[in-house]
């Protein structure tokens, strides 16, 4: 849950870059004939809003209204008491609080000539909220827009990459330390919390799972500023031979990373090693853009066919469901370069592909 550090630091992301992000969206709105776009987020997944403004929706839901010709306005059900903090840690100047988004949108557009309102990533919006907003705006045309912000987030800027490199080191170290031999699941999670949140991450989720033979896997997914990183390691691996095969499959998949590569290519690369897993295992190789890690890419449409883009940062993972029950996964976050992958989550001194 988002209860870590939220900061806005121009030394990290210059003011000009924040403006460019908004300008890029506004240009798309003009091209699409949309007068005002609404971007929805909740405490679980609100990274499009964070990308545009650095706002953190630490509880409940929120909508960012972006006029094609004006500055964004944040609409929230949170109390006006938190507006000063929100302004301090974001680029947004105008924030409106209220009990219903329909009323907030009505108030925002009051006095404007009727036009077209676009819902960014409308398929992910709560259907009831779409109805509420449309009903609140008679005379306005409400249209569904694709993931206009998510598309922009797919390839990272230099500033974002610098932050992801910093964060990657932390997540890699946390995953390594949490995978130390002999720890129980609680101790592994505590290690991650202390390392990752103590390094100033906004969010971290740790999942410790077990294979039927007792091998543990530690999955760490953390958000540093607005970027996400993931690493997964096996622990207590003495004995079973399949653990080497799983790591070998990941290394092969990492070796196949490059511009234009799809999950199918990664699966082909990892396939020979996966054949060494215990009979009846259900293994898969996948990648998720860091921009989608809040939801682990679970809202991506036809993700299996999507090609990697040069300059994107992606998590590559191999996981397995065992026939006898249990689960294990290994993974790294990498920068997709013109000639392969640069692993960002290698802890110092740790050998990775």
């Amino acid at each position: 849950m988002k209860r870590g550090l939220v900061v806005l630091d121009e030394a990290e992301v210059p003011a000009g870059e924040w403006r460019e992000r908004g300008d890029a969206l506004r240009s798309r709105l003009v091209a699409e004939g949309v007068d005002v776009a609404l971007v929805y987020g909740d405490v679980f997944a609100s990274d499009d809003i964070a990308y545009l403004t650095n706002l953190c929706i630490y509880w409940n839901e929120g909508i960012l209204a972006v006029p094609a010709g004006g500055e964004p306005v944040f609409l929230t059900k949170l109390s006006p008491r938190v507006h000063p903090w929100m302004r301090r840690v974001s680029t947004v100047e105008r924030i409106e609080s209220g009990r219903s988004f329909g009323a907030l949108v009505t108030g925002l557009l009051d006095g404007m000539p009727h036009g077209t309102l676009g819902l960014v990533g409308a398929a992910r919006w709560p259907a009831a909220l779409v109805e509420e907003v449309a009903a609140a705006l008679p005379g306005w045309r409400v249209t569904e827009l694709p993931e206009l912000v998510g598309e922009r987030r797919a390839v990272v800027s230099g500033a974002e990459l610098a932050l992801l490199r910093q964060g990657g080191t932390v997540v890699g170290r946390a995953a390594r330390d949490a995978a130390a031999a002999g720890l129980d699941a609680r101790a592994r999670t505590a290690v991650v919390e202390r390392v990752v949140r103590g390094a100033g991450f906004l969010d971290v989720a740790t999942r410790v799972a077990h294979a039927p033979d007792g091998v543990a896997c530690v999955q760490v997914t953390g958000q540093y500023r607005t970027g996400w990183l993931h690493a997964a390691r096996l622990a207590d691996t003495d004995g079973p031979s399949w653990t080497g095969a799983l790591r070998e499959a990941l290394d092969a998949a990492l070796g196949a990373v490059g511009p234009g590569v799809t999950a199918r290519h990664l699966t082909e690369a990892g396939g020979p090693a996966l054949a060494l897993l215990p009979a009846g295992s259900d293994a898969q190789v996948r990648w998720v853009n860091q921009a989608d890690l809040a939801t682990d890419g679970e809202y991506r449409h036809r993700a299996a066919d999507e090609p990697m883009a040069e300059g994107s940062v992606v998590a590559v993972a191999v996981d397995v469901l065992f026939e006898a029950g249990g689960y294990a996964a290994v993974g790294e976050t990498v920068l997709v370069t013109g000639d392969g992958a640069e692993v960002l989550t290698a802890a110092s001194g740790e050998a990775v592909a």
């Binding site: 849950m1 870590g4 008491r81 709560p126 505590a190 679970e298 469901l321």
Partner: protein
């Protein structure tokens, strides 16, 4: 009023239950939900759980889901099915044994779910958290059963979950023990020069060591200029600061909250007077609790203390939100606020917290979770209700 005792050790033992008790609890839930469904003429309930509202899915599965979306299909009779967007959740769903079928949910093609729904041929379906159901899933449901009436079952499930069973209360007592340990860790680390976010990291590590699955926590540090709490900032503590938090660990699915404030160093007169005011308000809230009390009554009892001392304006939405809220599988259940006439029956669990700003010492945070008993309430945390302070600050 009874008080929790020796709850520290409770966090370290295994969750209460066992196959028989777990099965009895599952069967109890099925009976409660089906009775409510019959009263509302529902042929099926679908519990939808977005990443931040999984309480109803947990209620049906007792599984710790991590997927961005999850759903449970619960028919008026017959097999129960659960689905998560994350395939790593499947062993957990299968492991608890609370559902008959578990599968992966593809939000763009949820055929396994809607196929089962179609087979039920329901005429009236209740969807818990219909208000949060993404458009693509909403459309898939309506296509699957075009003739069926689809209504919200959010309130139905809220009502079913309001009264906790003994099985649930045993789990919530483990949450209470973690609340106490988390607060202890919070006070232990306070010292001048420490940034707020490092306090949170230490508390998170401590409560995770005790088995907390998650935690909701807000914090604020400073003096009488503090108006509310937020996510942690880089601000470093100074001697004389009051550091406020609401700490809400989740154990075995169940959230429980403790609210306390601590001073870095020796409290000043304003901070002591502020504590006395808030302590009296909490006590008044606790004294008002009995079976059948309303959320309004409990809120009013607290606010009346502020009014009596001339601080009534600080009970308004300009300065504060609620006087507490329900707890359970969701951390923020029915609000304890004037105007909410929700009846709180025996074994309802909620926190009483009159958190607000006053000029005495800025925003003050104090509150205890309670269970409604036959003749009053049981305070669930053992942590003393006092103005804590750190000696490290006193030396600075």
């Amino acid at each position: 009023m009874t008080t929790a005792s020796d709850t520290e050790s409770a966090a370290t033992v295994a969750p209460p239950g066992g196959p028989d008790a777990d099965g009895a609890e599952r069967d109890l839930r099925h009976r409660k939900v089906r009775a409510a469904m019959a009263a509302e003429g529902l042929d099926a309930v679908i519990a939808y759980g977005p990443g931040w509202r999984r309480e109803n899915v947990r209620y049906f599965t007792d599984a710790r889901i991590t997927g961005s979306s999850s759903m449970v299909l619960f028919p008026a009779s017959g097999e129960v099915s659960a689905f998560s967007t994350r395939r790593g959740d499947l062993p957990e769903l299968a492991g608890t044994g609370w559902v008959d079928h578990a599968g992966v949910l593809d939000v763009w093609d949820p055929e396994p779910l809607i196929g089962r729904l179609r087979d039920l041929r329901p005429r009236r379906i209740g969807v818990a958290h219909l208000e949060l159901l993404p458009a693509m899933l909403d459309a898939a449901l309506r296509r699957a059963v075009p003739g069926a009436e689809i209504v919200s079952a959010t309130r139905l499930l809220d009502g079913v979950r309001l009264v906790k069973s003994d099985w649930e209360l045993a789990r919530m007592r483990r949450s209470a023990a973690v609340c106490a340990a988390g607060w202890e860790a919070f006070v232990d680390v306070l010292e001048p020069g420490l940034p707020e976010f490092r306090i949170v990291a230490e508390v998170e590590a401590r409560i995770k060591e005790l088995g907390a699955e998650d935690n909701f926590m807000l914090i604020a540090s400073g003096k009488d200029e503090v108006r509310g709490m937020t996510a942690p900032t880089p601000r470093v503590l100074e001697a004389g600061d009051m550091v406020r938090t609401e700490l809400t660990p989740q154990m075995d699915g169940y959230w429980l909250q403790i609210c306390r404030s601590a001073v870095v160093g020796r409290p000043d007169e304003g901070q002591r007077r502020s504590f006395a005011l808030f302590d009296e308000a909490v006590a008044a809230g606790i004294a008002s609790v009995r079976p059948g009390v309303t959320a309004h009554d409990v809120a009013k009892a607290q606010n009346d203390v502020f009014r009596a001392y001339g601080y009534g304006e600080y009970c308004t939405s300009r300065y504060t939100r609620v006087r507490g809220h329900g707890h359970g599988l969701h951390l923020d259940e029915t609000p304890i606020i004037e105007g909410n006439e929700t009846v709180l029956p025996e074994n309802a669990v909620f926190i009483i917290h009159p958190n607000t700003y006053t000029p005495l010492a800025g925003y003050h945070v104090l509150g205890d979770p309670v269970r409604v008993t036959a003749d009053g309430c049981e305070v669930l945390v053992a942590t003393e209700r006092k103005l804590f302070h750190s000696e490290k600050g006193a030396a600075a």
